[in-house]
């Protein structure tokens, strides 16, 4: 006989979004259970390279990104546990004339959205960041760019949540979602949960869980990879990203951490995942080209993790049909790790109030999941 549990709110997916939202809901006194298919926070939340960079984020999410950068600064204090955040200042480098043009065209838009970013010429780069290759022609510099420790951040939110009597249930993949009167039954192999509200924070699996909820959303997924080296001399005091978006580099305790969204092998539906060596080589060769001094570092390990993404790269958040206060989603944006503290909190506020639709503010309209819900797309599918 399966164990039965009754909760107010059940978060499906214990990644950073599930945990942030759960933490803020627990803080206002809600009874929250977070369930995860494996150990919590194992995929996108822990496998990303920990950049809290602003310059490499989508232009339509800049306002939130800046807010998040300030938030990260106080997060360890707020949660009472260290999240490993350091504000380092970041260079977004350009290595061709075309790249420089792209940087130049983006900077006014970024500045208009309140991002303190400036274009730095070659001369200044040689002086401020002598470790960068002579191939770097210019760079955008933003003093708010920083980095966090994804492992610590996930753990900090989980601990802070548990301190508020929140419960996390691991190794509980959802098998089925059923209506039970005004509640929702969440069935897992070991436990059957009866919840008033269900929040889909399942990352790469968010499409599948939304389909179980009755609204199959187009969630795309990818296997993100990152690499860490053995410790060596401290040479990179900043965050470095390339404006092509395929490189992030930072150094923590002497170790170089290299990311840039190069893809691994596998799929979330069988759960198989594997680092792809060809792509790791591509990632590292970009890193060595931009920062030649790291050639002497030895790679310690590379890893991968599943992440979800909406087709337009903007978050999917809000309430799902039939809009009766039971089904919510918070998933699948680009640069999600850095934005988690504020977007997760916003989501928690809406869930607490009950209705997203009535409370959604203008700056979040863009994120509203209703843009993918069938009522709208049904017309598009009608080609008869």
């Amino acid at each position: 006989m399966r164990e039965k549990r009754n909760v107010d709110i059940c978060m499906i997916g214990g990644g950073i979004y599930g945990l942030v939202t759960a933490y803020h809901l627990a803080k206002v006194g809600r009874d929250v259970l977070v369930i995860d298919r494996g150990p919590y926070g194992m995929e996108a939340s822990r496998s990303n390279a920990g950049s809290i960079a602003i310059q490499n984020k989508a232009l339509n999410m800049l306002a939130e990104t800046v807010k998040a950068a300030y938030r990260w600064g106080n997060l360890s204090e707020e949660l009472g546990f260290d999240v490993g955040y350091e504000r380092r200042g970041g260079f977004r480098v350009a290595s061709s004339e075309g790249d420089v043009e792209m940087l130049r065209s983006r900077i006014p838009i970024q500045r208009k959205a309140g991002v303190p970013v400036e274009l730095v010429e070659e001369k200044v780069i040689r002086k401020e960041a002598p470790y960068l290759s002579t191939e770097v022609l210019a760079a955008g510099y933003c003093h708010l760019d920083g980095k966090a420790d994804p492992f610590k951040a996930v753990l900090a939110y989980a601990k802070a949540f548990e301190r508020l009597n929140g419960k996390i249930l691991t190794h509980a993949p959802v098998k089925r979602l059923k209506s039970e009167g005004k509640q929702v039954a969440v069935e897992t192999p070991s436990v059957s949960i009866l919840a008033n509200k269900v929040v889909n924070t399942a990352g790469a699996w968010a499409g599948l869980v939304s389909a179980m909820m009755g609204v199959p959303l187009p969630v795309m997924w990818a296997l993100n990879m990152a690499t860490i080296t053995e410790p060596g001399p401290e040479i990179i005091p900043h965050i470095v990203t390339h404006c092509h978006g395929n490189l992030t580099v930072k150094q923590a305790k002497g170790r170089i951490i290299i990311g840039g969204a190069w893809r691994g092998d596998g799929d979330p539906f069988t759960g198989r995942q594997q680092v792809n060596l060809t792509n790791i080589r591509g990632n590292l060769s970009w890193a060595c080209t931009m920062i030649p001094a790291i050639k002497g570092f030895r790679v310690l390990r590379s890893w991968s993790g599943f992440q979800g993404q909406s087709p337009d790269r903007v978050f999917m958040m809000g309430e799902l049909p039939p809009y009766d206060g039971r089904f919510y989603i918070m998933a699948a944006g680009s640069g999600g790790f850095g934005l988690a503290p504020i977007i997760g909190e916003q989501m928690a506020e809406w869930i607490h109030k009950g209705s997203v639709t009535e409370n959604i503010t203008d700056n979040f309209k863009l994120f509203d999941v209703r843009r993918y819900c069938p009522d709208e797309s049904r017309k598009a599918a009608d080609m008869m």
Partner: protein, 400 residues
């Protein structure tokens, strides 16, 4: 199988086999691989009838018509044991709100020459007393082309195996795609590297685990489909009974989802002296889910069947068949070149109880590969409809 082919087709399903045959017809050396063996490919096809009709919600009429054409052309060339049948189909109108729409629909199609009529409650009961009194009416189509799934697969496998331009390799698991300078050059497989000028991924949900490292992103997801099959019946009207679906509505609307958690549809093909498949239940699950939902699925289908067709209560259910399908959230097939990676092509669609577009899709995939680009008018089916841009707003190059 030699380690180099002009084209490798991954997946020996309907799409893969029709694509391989079309490519071979154009004089191309094709390698056809599948993770299963022919007996495994035939597994789970008992009492499955594939419908080839052109009037279906969800559009794609051209593709449906073409599918039937290709199918009939294929059957004509077969020497033994393979034929297309003509069935009458009853589409039950269950929701009172759908009655007017169904009438208009029947009328419109009738005027276009489709042999269809709307049956009122009384006429329906006269035709089939086994249907529930709660059903509001029905659309009766007099001539639906249908074919036995198992016989078709058998014939297709035989046709592919006897074609010298197609080299077959069964039991091969594909692990990944090798990309060089933005171009797919071959596969990593359980029997070692396989090189090819072009690659077609037509292995349904199995495809999803193959292309991740190329950086291509797509939203299909697995759904598990259950069919409940009854024992042979002595007498029967030789008829297909399904439910009327509003034109333009998704196969999966929240109102099609039962409280049991399954999406259930009536899809019965009653044939004298034959086993009968009575309905489908679908659920979204991860692929490693073990058979623990079987009982619930069986209950959901039989309950649904009994509610729609109480007069058939003496049917004895024999067999629950399940398999994984590929579900595409926007409801359209994905066929065409992969975004960002040259020489890699996709042919995916979701199989449902509405109509079969596999043959036309395979054919279209083959023609797309020969043209090396999305064919005109097919843009809305192209994989390129899913945006692939990288964080910086630029396309990313992988595998360099």
């Amino acid at each position: 199988m030699s380690s180099h082919s002009d084209v490798i087709v991954v997946g020996a399903g309907l799409v893969g086999m029709f694509a391989a045959m079309e490519l071979a017809n154009q004089g191309i050396q094709v390698g056809l691989i599948d993770s299963g063996s022919p007996p495994e490919l035939l597994d789970g096809l008992t009492a499955e009838i594939l419908l080839f009709r052109e009037h279906c919600p969800g559009g794609l009429e051209g593709m449906r018509v073409k599918s039937r054409e290709i199918l009939l052309g294929f059957i004509e060339k077969q020497t033994a044991g393979m034929r297309a049948e003509s069935f009458a189909e009853l589409q039950l109108v269950v929701a009172p709100a759908d009655v007017e729409a169904a009438k208009t629909d029947a009328d419109r199609r009738h005027r276009r020459g489709v042999p269809v009529e709307y049956l009122s409650e009384v006429e329906l009961r006269k035709l089939d007393s086994g249907v529930s009194p709660e059903v509001m009416g029905a659309l009766l189509y007099r001539d639906i082309t249908a074919v036995d799934s198992e016989a078709l697969y058998r014939a297709l496998i035989k046709a592919c195996e006897s074609d010298r331009r197609i080299s077959k390799c069964w039991g091969v698991k594909v692990l990944g795609i090798n990309v060089k300078n933005g171009r797919a050059v071959g596969l990593r497989s359980s029997i070692g590297p396989l090189q090819a000028g072009q690659i077609l991924l037509a292995s349904g949900i199995g495809t999803m685990g193959v292309f991740a490292s190329t950086g291509v992103q797509m939203p299909p997801m697995p759904e598990k489909t259950y069919r409940l099959v009854s024992q042979s019946i002595d007498s029967g009207p030789d008829r297909i009974v399904t439910e009327y679906i509003l034109p333009g509505s998704f196969a999966y609307r929240s109102d099609a989802k039962e409280d049991s958690g399954f999406y259930v549809r009536l899809s019965a093909c009653v044939r004298k002296g034959q086993q009968t498949s009575v309905g489908e239940a679908r659920e979204f699950v991860v692929v490693d889910n073990n058979g623990s939902s079987d009982r619930a699925a069986r209950d959901a289908i039989s309950r649904h069947f009994a509610a729609r067709m109480p007069g058939y209560e003496d049917l004895v259910f024999d067999n629950l068949i399940s398999r994984f399908n590929c579900f595409i959230p926007d409801g359209l097939p994905i066929v065409g070149p992969a975004p960002n990676v040259e020489a890699l092509f996709f042919a995916l669609y979701q199989r449902d109880c509405r109509s079969m577009i596999g043959p036309a899709l395979g054919n279209l995939a083959a023609r797309t590969m020969i043209a090396r680009k999305t064919l005109e008018g097919m843009e809305e089916l192209s994989p390129e409809r899913f945006p692939q841009s990288a964080p910086g707003g630029r396309k990313k190059s992988f595998g360099e």
